[in-house]
Every structure is written in structure tokens, then in C-alpha cells.
Symmetry: D2
Subunit: 393 residues, 4 copies
Amino acid sequence: MLGTGFIADFYISALHGQRSRDRVIMAYSTTPERAKPFAEKHGIPHWTNDLQEAVSHPDVDIVCIGLRNYQHLEAAQAAAKAGKAVMCTKPLARTADEAWEMVQAIESAGVFGGYLEDLVYTPKNLKAAQSVREGAIGRVLWAKSRETHPGPHSPWFWDKSLAGGGALVDLGCHCIEIARNFIGKNVRPVEVMCWADTQVKPIDAEDHAIGLVKYANGAIGQFEVSWAFRGGMDLRDEVMGTEGTIWLNNFLRTGFEMFTAPGQTGYVAEKAESASGWLFPVGDETNDLGYNHMFTDMLDSMEKGKQPLESFYDGYVVNAIMDAAYKSAKTKQWEPIQLKEWRGLPDEAVQVQKEVEYDADHWLLKEEILPDGNRKLLLKVKATGKLVQTETL
Amino acid sequence: MLGTGFIADFYISALHGQRSRDRVIMAYSTTPERAKPFAEKHGIPHWTNDLQEAVSHPDVDIVCIGLRNYQHLEAAQAAAKAGKAVMCTKPLARTADEAWEMVQAIESAGVFGGYLEDLVYTPKNLKAAQSVREGAIGRVLWAKSRETHPGPHSPWFWDKSLAGGGALVDLGCHCIEIARNFIGKNVRPVEVMCWADTQVKPIDAEDHAIGLVKYANGAIGQFEVSWAFRGGMDLRDEVMGTEGTIWLNNFLRTGFEMFTAPGQTGYVAEKAESASGWLFPVGDETNDLGYNHMFTDMLDSMEKGKQPLESFYDGYVVNAIMDAAYKSAKTKQWEPIQLKEWRGLPDEAVQVQKEVEYDADHWLLKEEILPDGNRKLLLKVKATGKLVQTETL
Amino acid sequence: MLGTGFIADFYISALHGQRSRDRVIMAYSTTPERAKPFAEKHGIPHWTNDLQEAVSHPDVDIVCIGLRNYQHLEAAQAAAKAGKAVMCTKPLARTADEAWEMVQAIESAGVFGGYLEDLVYTPKNLKAAQSVREGAIGRVLWAKSRETHPGPHSPWFWDKSLAGGGALVDLGCHCIEIARNFIGKNVRPVEVMCWADTQVKPIDAEDHAIGLVKYANGAIGQFEVSWAFRGGMDLRDEVMGTEGTIWLNNFLRTGFEMFTAPGQTGYVAEKAESASGWLFPVGDETNDLGYNHMFTDMLDSMEKGKQPLESFYDGYVVNAIMDAAYKSAKTKQWEPIQLKEWRGLPDEAVQVQKEVEYDADHWLLKEEILPDGNRKLLLKVKATGKLVQTETL
Amino acid sequence: MLGTGFIADFYISALHGQRSRDRVIMAYSTTPERAKPFAEKHGIPHWTNDLQEAVSHPDVDIVCIGLRNYQHLEAAQAAAKAGKAVMCTKPLARTADEAWEMVQAIESAGVFGGYLEDLVYTPKNLKAAQSVREGAIGRVLWAKSRETHPGPHSPWFWDKSLAGGGALVDLGCHCIEIARNFIGKNVRPVEVMCWADTQVKPIDAEDHAIGLVKYANGAIGQFEVSWAFRGGMDLRDEVMGTEGTIWLNNFLRTGFEMFTAPGQTGYVAEKAESASGWLFPVGDETNDLGYNHMFTDMLDSMEKGKQPLESFYDGYVVNAIMDAAYKSAKTKQWEPIQLKEWRGLPDEAVQVQKEVEYDADHWLLKEEILPDGNRKLLLKVKATGKLVQTETL
């Protein structure tokens, strides 16, 4: 485990959780005083502040990068050079260029590279994506993902040069990849339009951003991210298809509601903005935020020599989309997404037939059951383009 | 009442509702065969197919335009000329130019002009806007409104030239004005970025559109509209402020949930896409969708000689925003909003101070209560711009 | 209007609301100093502390009793004697005996008597009851109503002899009548089992009670009431039928959610237990709690000379059920409900056929679609009583 | 693993789930043709139809009883006799007498005995119970648990003699133990009042039951169970305390909502009553229904030689409560709960002080913030019992 911060705690909770057979055997931190206590807290036998030592330890099968954004590239290169499988936290890098170097590092070394995009692995997202693939909502038209909260815990997140950006790079990477999973990872993201601003915080990076990503089949991915949201952690996804819709809530409304009277108890709520009043805890954060299913996929894939659901290449695509988003926020127009290599389907293969045929002469516009039980049809005459309305029993 | 369609039914349900003292006394339809049965159904003493006759009847105090979009201008001009107060359904017109003619018609005639933007008047929106004004969520950063459903009932909606556009002009007018009410109607909408596409329906107009409206104080209004949504009528608003957030649901999740077993009853659900399974009715549509509060404001304002919450000028602003949105959808860049006249505050008067001072030397970045009860502060040193972190008991 | 307290404010808000043609013309209070300011606040032309004067004023068409429980009987008798129509707030009386005297007073005087059971008239309850009558959920098996909050505002509520009881008589009257409306007001309530206790408050009356009411057709009504609930006002109803279910929430989760940061604003929330954190306002309390629809029914019924949905007799039945509930809480067994007169259907007329026939030889136990799409049937052989299981494509 | 049915599938999904180090090595079924395919499906190396062989296999550390209710006793005795640790599915037995024999079997053999009450282990219930212990809602007054669905899958459930009862024994065992966990497992359940009826199904056992369990400290546990619910699986818990409340939803409203258009897709929904319309899936059923945390506790406890959260004795207490509930349903009065041995606190140790002191002379009745910001106090004078009201700024 490279890194000993907040995310490393979450990762170990998943890796060591329940009756797991996996164990973290090495703790590495760039901060001299943190590796040892972290190792002790989690029962990790070895610890070090030397990156080379950490990735080279013979008992290490896979290196897990839980470091700050600006440290990912160096760590991935070191691990790849040591011939070790790698998993890297999100975002993969600060820019597409850095991300591409990471892709090349593991591919040229021939090692496994997993992208730790946990929110794609929440049980709800996995099951919803499965339903989409099975046709439950028809063709996907729009997939929106929203992550907003009152801002990150550590100072480095707020420093644009260290993090690579602000709320967009921190949270948008999740949202972009969630939408890709619903729309289809084989469909090329073509261009992006993004608004980003620093509305509240005294920082250089953006604390709020909203963007649209257009895919080669006409579908739209949308991200909404902010570090200025008040009310806790808002994690919601929505997908619209031609035959249905999906609404997911991964945090604030998951079926756990608690009122605790203000000021009368010593009770302190976890992860809520206020310690009293109505609170909305998550039952099992490690599982519900996707860590368990993510590491199961990563380690099983590594052992079986296959690609995980989320690979370094996926992380690269996300960085490329974010690069275009940052550019768009400046130029105030749609910007093309620049990919050095597209590994999905060619655009021609994903084109869709929009019209639904009603009969040889008509397209179906809308069908509706009226309050009196009659069926109302709105049709378009193919030959003339005229709209007609019929009502039948 | 000019118009005898779906919306006219809703209007009369509000106007004649409960123990109202108001009565519709004239029914006008452009369709010869509809005025009479409509008048009989609602107990309206007079009916006609002659617009001039309708607006001139001596018992008419106020003319209510519930006609199709392309008929609003002529009707408003006729009413104004007859010296009658006017209320007009949404959108005010097909374009800002048409809308401005309507504004001028009533202003030069010196008659009352109310804009029937019902969704601004839902009890939830009225109360939420009141809370915002009282400071419940601090400064508004973002206000999003969403209206999506499976498409309108009548053929003319789907014809771009008659309606003035597609889902954007039909539904976006609501969303834009709802956001304006939260952000402040005195704050100038400056520019707009819009994506619009025809993803599903065999029509020329857009069936899906998403846009961002930037206001002079940096706040963002967002609209999401579609005629291709499956699942019923989705009417949701969200507002983010520096001190809080508001989530409103006006339709599908309002505390009324019903499961009715498929196929075993003759029961037919109202306004739902399916007649069985889980259904989510609205208790009192006329009240919950704002019609009662809207007409109370309109008629009280007319009687007292004051401006209603929603005036013709507001309708004009909305049309101007939509014009810019359509332009942006084509040019693929942010487009300025062109207003012949801005009646709100000058831009200088709405500028905000972003930074929150912690003490003489620091800006506050974030304050957080840790699980151990300690208080963690992230501060920015004013002089150096450096980020510092402190933890206190 | 007899009474000038909290409920009288609500009643006038409904009676004078929107564009109503009705007006309260007389304010009466037993407290000398309250009638006048109340009248002035609401624009009521006359006020008095003399009951006789209040009910006899020639401009009074209907007397509205909004007094304390122990004052209902005298007021109803006075109004009936003056030949005036009467509406009385809930509960009708402190006991069934008092309630019966009230029924007799209005019936012998031949005047209209409406029971102001507002929660039966919430738009959600009215629409849900209509769906039940139309067969949406089949035969009703169970109807539960819950009303709990942190306790009433005025001291007299807490005094058993003045109020007639505690939380049961204050809140249970609503719950009992809501269940009756779903199960059918023609079906006789037969017996009741009730637990009641004083768990928290330093009073003689119960602050928490739960009870089951058994109806002649085997359906069960359930009430859950408390004055010791923390978290606001909890108003929820559930109905289970053979073909479906209904869940209503009239207060805390109606699609209006607001987070307001603790301590940073001067904002004071209305009707919430805390003034910050997550709050759940109701959009339009007067309408959503049933006052508008209730008074419309009352006044229309009075004018048309027909029975309102809720009559004095209904109030009497509710009091009889509560009398039996109090007895059961003491005897710790089911107690029969004593009605001097049953005006609904005879018990024989409401008996139900439980078994659903599958074919000539079998009753249907359960039908289920398996994950593989097959249909599984559990049947009971009529002749032998044996359970059999079949699976078909 | 003894048993190869529905519950055995769930158990193995948890035991073999994610990266577990545990493995089921023996499959036993009473049905000859089921053990082998079950073993093959789950990669279980051994299978048998001989109970003795199953429990005696040298590689078996713990025997997991997933059999039908009437087979639990024999299996537990066999396992205990073989000196093996045992875990048994819910309900522990058909009656308290059978359950007590099972307790004695494992205790006299000195082996571990875990009670597989999964719903106490849902992440939400575990976290909620933890919050209650930490004082988040004060003293617990009432804990309600509801489990209803359209009826079980296999015929034996519907046979009273094999199952030990109907919906009460099948579902009520969960609800009773969930309430015990909130109220405190050291607090003696004293008496029970239960209504049970066969309202819909052509069976001898009850298909619907509601009951109240009174505890030695005055708290009330409530269970609501049915096999006649339409709409899916309803799993909800509510807890009321003096300082707060908790609402849990473990199934139908957990933040996953999907609309799938009726009849237009081949999509078949899992575990829903209808395959179209609005569906409410659970993200990760195995985890969210408690199986993972349950087996982690069981196996860790066994290995460490400590009692699990849910032991055979807990199962016995539940059976004793259900025995009293069945008796009450017949006698129509509260029935005492007969425990051969009470292992919790004596009743004297759990008595509570109800009154909250305001000052030396007064008890606090209610404190309230008025809309004008004033504080209103309702107090009771200790000496006289008189209620007084004060209002302060």
C-alpha cells in the first residue's frame, strides 16, 4: 500500500474486510512519521519511506497506489519497473499526458494495471449497468452523475498544481466514468462542453463545475461536481433511455434516516455536516461505495490474467475528457476530446436508427392511453412529414 | 377564457375551484365545434368563435389566453386594444420579438398583463423561494430545474413553426423562470450555453435539451428538459447555496405511493405511463402544480393595480433566454442574452464578495468536525496565499 | 367561529383562503381578552364572549366549533337550539356519551352537523380512498394510520379531565377515522385492542398508544399515536389490500427537502424541531392537511342539504371506538365497541369469500414468475387440502 | 451445509463471496436428487444424503443448518453429538420447547451455537443499534419491525405442522429479534399481545399477524408480518426514543429506482412482483440483508471462542415470545412470556425514571421554539401537579 491517508484506510478496510484471504504486507508513506503507525494500526508487517523498497519487496504481488495525484506517475513507473502488478487510485493522473505515460509504463513492462474507480463498482451501479445491458431502459440517451460535498480533507487537494485541478479533477473523474459505463465503454467520447468557476472558496482551482460529454452515438454524459455543497455528500446518478430510466442515490437517501435531538445528547454523527437533527447515514460505506467489489474484480482479474472492468486505459480516457473540459471552460465552446489511441468501436459501428416505425407509411411519434381507456396515437407520415393523430378503442 | 384544450381545463379547475367567487363567463375557441361543449361542461354562460367578440364582452374583466403558442400575440393585442386586463399561458410567445410586441401592447394600452407561469407558483416553490430570501441557504450558487415527460398531447406542439421550438420552448420556459426566482429576478441573465438534439422522435424540433444560464452575480441556472423521458412526469428542482441546499419534487415522489397488481383489476391509473405496478400520484394536481396560488396572485394583483409575481416582462426575459439558447445550440458556444431593456438591478449592484474572512490574516477555506470531536480548520493566509491546516479541541 | 386558538387560525386560513366567497363574521372566545384581537387580525366584523350572542347573530349561517374538547357539547347544543348548522372540530367529544348527546341535539333540531375531521380530507387521502373504491388494491385487509409529534401546544390538552384523555383522544381520533374511510364506513367496527402508557411525560394521560380495531368483514384498522415522538410531525398512512398497497406521507417526506447550515444563518424553520440541518417542510399546509377540501365539502353539503363525508354520527362512532380502546388498555383484552345505533350495513352483508379459485379442483395459493421466466403455481386441492406446486412455461 | 434450498444459496453466496478464505466442503440434502447438483454448482467437494456422514466429515469445522423448520432439532443434536460447532437458520425451532432442547444439546456438548438471524446483521441495523447504544435517540420507547411479502416459495412453509406456524413464525422471528436488539437484549420481554388471522390464503396457518411485546423497562416491541402483501418485499424498521427516532428501509426504498417501459423489452426484473413499471432493486442483496456481517461474526466468534451477537439462547427467547403470541391470538388477551431461564438483567435493574426535572419545583413537560423565536415552556409543578405555561425570549 502506497499512501497512508484517508483513501488508504478505506482500501484496507475493503482488502482486510469480512473473511478476506488477502493481506496488505507493506506500508509506504512519503511522510516519514506516518508509515509506522499506519502499519501498526492495520497489522501490516512491513513499512518504509523508500518507494523502491516498498515496490520491490518479494512478498508484494500487487502495488496499490493510494498517493496524492502528483505522485501517481512516479509510483506507477517504479512498480512497473519492479515487474509488479499495479492498481492506482482515481484520478489516474493530473493530465492525459501523465496518464498516457502510466499506460505505457505498465504496458511496456507487461504488468497488470487496474484503475481504482470505486464508484463504478458500487453494488447499485453494477446492478444498474447490468440492467441497462439487458435492455431494461432501451437505448441510453443521457447519463448524469453528480458528486458534491463541502470540500476535501487535506490541503494538497486545494492546490491546483499538486492536484491537477479542483473539484472537476477530484470528483468529475468519477462522474465521467460512471456515465461512460452506462453509455458503453466502446462508444467514443467525442467532445465536451464545460462550465467551471470558483464561486465560494479562496482558491485558484474551480470549486464547482458542470459539463456535457457527447458520445459518437449521440448520447450525452453529464457531470455535476462541487466542493461548495452544504448538506453532506451528495452522490446521485440518473440514466434516461428510450424505454425507461434509472435513479441511483449512493449516499444521502439510502433508506437510513435518523433524527437525533439537538444539543441533548453527547452523540456525534459520522460524516454529517451537523451532529443533530435529521441525519442520513450509509449502512456499510466500504461495500456501498464500491470498494469490496472493486478489489474483488482487481485481484481476481490479476490472478486470472484478464483486464479488470476499470483499467489504466480507462483512467487515461477520463483524463483526456477532463483535459478537454478544462479547455472548454476557458474557450467557452465545445472542445474535441483528443485520444492518442481509441480502443473501442469505430464511430460508424455505434450509429443508431432514431425513428420507430409504426407501419409501412408512418413513424410512431407517441402512443398514449387516455383516461377513458382509449388509445391515442401520434404518427408522422413518412412521405409528407405531416403529423396525424388517431384515437382507437 | 381563450382556448378550450388541456390547459384551459386546468385553469378553470383552479378558477372555479373550492369556494371561489370568480367565474369564467366566456369560452372562445378557434375550433368551431369546441367552444360550445366546453362552455356547457364548465357552466360558462357565453361562447364564441370570434376573438373580437370574446375579448369585448362587457362582463369580461380579464382575458385569459390559453391558446396555442402562435396565437398568443394576436390574442394579447386584441385584449389590450379592448382595454381588458390579460393573463397569458406559458411560453409568453415563440420568440423574444413576439414577446416584446406583447409587452408593448399591454403597456401602451395601460392594461394589466400577467404571465401564467404556474410552476413558479407551486406551494413548494413559493415556500422554498421565501426560505431562500430569508437566508436559509445563504447566497444562491446554482439553481437547477428539470421537466421531462414522454411528450405533449396535441400535434401542434410537435410542429416547430407553430410552437416556436420543441421541448426547450415547451418545458424550458418553466425551468428558466424557476431558476430566476431562486437566483433573484433582479439579477441580469447574461449568457447561455445550450445543448439540444432530436434523439428519439421523428420531428424537426429538439426532444431533449440541457442548458446553463449565467447570471451577473456569477450564479448559474440550469435547465433539463425532454419529451423522451419514460416513467411519467418528472418535475424536480434543486438549489445550492453557500449555507444550504433545497430539493423539490413536484410530481413523482411527493409522499403518495401505490402498488396495484398487474392485470388483476380494471383499475386505470391517471397520468402514469403504466396502469399497474408502483404508481406515484399527486394528491391535488391543481393546487400542487401552482394553479390556485397563481390565479389568486393574478386576480388580487389586477384588482389592487399592482404587478403580479410573474408579469409579461418576465415572460419576455424567458423568451430572450430561450432565443439565446437556440442560438448556442447551433453555434456550440456561450451566447449573450439580448434584452431590449433590463428592468432589474445593474450588474455592479449584484457583485458578491466570495471570500469568507476567518481572522485578519486568514480566509476560511473549510471547517470540519472530526470523528473524535476535534475541529479542523483549513485556512488560506491572505498575504501569501498559502493553505494551512489547524486542529483544535 | 367559536374559539380563537391554533385550530381557529387554520380554519380561517382555509375559509378565507385563495379567492373564497365565504367569510367568518363572528369571533367568540371564552377568554375575554382574545376575541377582539383575533377578530381584528382576521378582519372579522363582530366578536363576543357570550356564546348565546355568537350563535344567534342573524348573519351566521353555520357555527364552527373550534373550542376545547370539554366545551363542544354545550356549544353544539346552543347552536342547534338557535337553529343553526354546526361544524365541530375533532374529537367530536370526550366520550361516546357526550358525542351521542351532540348527535341528538342536531338531529332533534333538524340542523346540519359536520364533523371537522380534516385528515380524512387531505388530497392524498381523498384520492387514495377513491382508488381503493375503484378497486386499485382489491379488498382492504389492513389500514394503519400514524400520528405522532412532540406534544400539543396548550396546557389543557395535557389535562385528562378537560381533554377526555391523552394522545389517543387527541390524535387517535384522526387515525381511527382514516382507517374507517379505507375499510368502508358501512362496515361495523366490532372490537378493539389497545395498549396505552405514559412513557415519558409527567402526566396522568397516556403519551403513547397503539391499537387494533377489528371490523365485521375481518379487516383491521390500526392506530399509532404519541406525544413523545422526536423529529417533527409524523403523519403516515398505509393500506394493504389483496391486490395492492398504498403508502401516504402527509408531512415529513412530501418532496420538499432543505438543508440549512447550523448556526450560520438567522433563519428559523417553521414547525420543525430543529432550526437547522435537514428540514422537511410541507408546501401548502392548509391544503395538504385537508382544510380546504373539508370546508368545501361542509359548506357545499350544507347548502345542498346533504350529508357531508364526515358527519356528527361519524364523530360519535370514533368516540365509541376510543371508549372501548381506553377500556381495553385497562382490561388488557379485546373489548367490544358499544354503539347505541349502527347506521351502516349489517354484518352479514359484508362477509367476504377468502379463497380464490384456480380451477374446479384447486384454490390458488400463490402465483410467481421465476427468474427463468417460468410461472410457478402453488395450489391447494379443494378435496384433500393438500398443497401442490406446478411450474409451467 | 445442511440444506440445498433458497436460503442455502444465499448462505453460500456470503460464505464464498468476495475474496473469502472460507469454503463449504460438504453439501447435505434430505432430497436425494438435490445434493449432488447443488455441490457441483457451488464447487463443493463432498455431498451426501446421510446426516451423520455430513456432520462427521473431518474437514467440517462448523455445521450450517439451512434445513426446514421441523428438521432443525435433529440436525443440531447430530452436530452437537459429533462435537461440531453449529449455526442454525431462523427460526431456531417450531416452538420454545424444541428450541430449548437445541440450546441444551449444544451447551451440554460444549460446542458453539450461532443463531443465523440475518436481519439483525444488516449493515443498517448494526449501525443503527450502535447509534442507539451511543445515545443518539435517548431511551428507546418503541421498536417496530415489519416484514411482509406475497408469501414463501416452497409448499412446506404453508403447512403449519411442518413450519410451526405461518407468517408469524416465518417472518415474526426476525421482527421480534430486531426489536430486542434496539430495546436491549438484557431487558426481559414480559408479555405479548397478538392478533393473527388467515385473511386471504386457503391455509390453516395465519397469513397476517400484528403483535406488541412489552419489556420489563416499559418499552414496546412491535411486529407486523404478512404473506398477503402486494408490491414486493417490505422490510422496514422504526425506533422511537426520548431524544430521537430511526427509520430503516432494507428493501423497497434504498436509493435504487428504475422505470422500465411495460411490454417493450424482454427484460425480466428480479424479485419484483411486476416485470415493468417502477421497480426498486436492492444493490447487493447478500450484503444488504446481513449475510456477510452475520457469517463474519459467526466464524470469528467461533474461532475466538466467544458468543456471537446472536446465539442459540437468543433463538430460544424468540421462540418463547412467539409461543406466547400464538396463545394471545387465541385467548385475545396479553399473555406472559414463559422463559425457563432468563440470562439478562433482573427487572429491577432496568427500571427508568420517567420525569425530566426542569428545576427544583418543576418537571419539564415540553419546550418549544415559537415562530417569533420565543421559547415556550410547559411545566408541571411537582408539589401540586398543576400544569403551567411560560414564554421567554
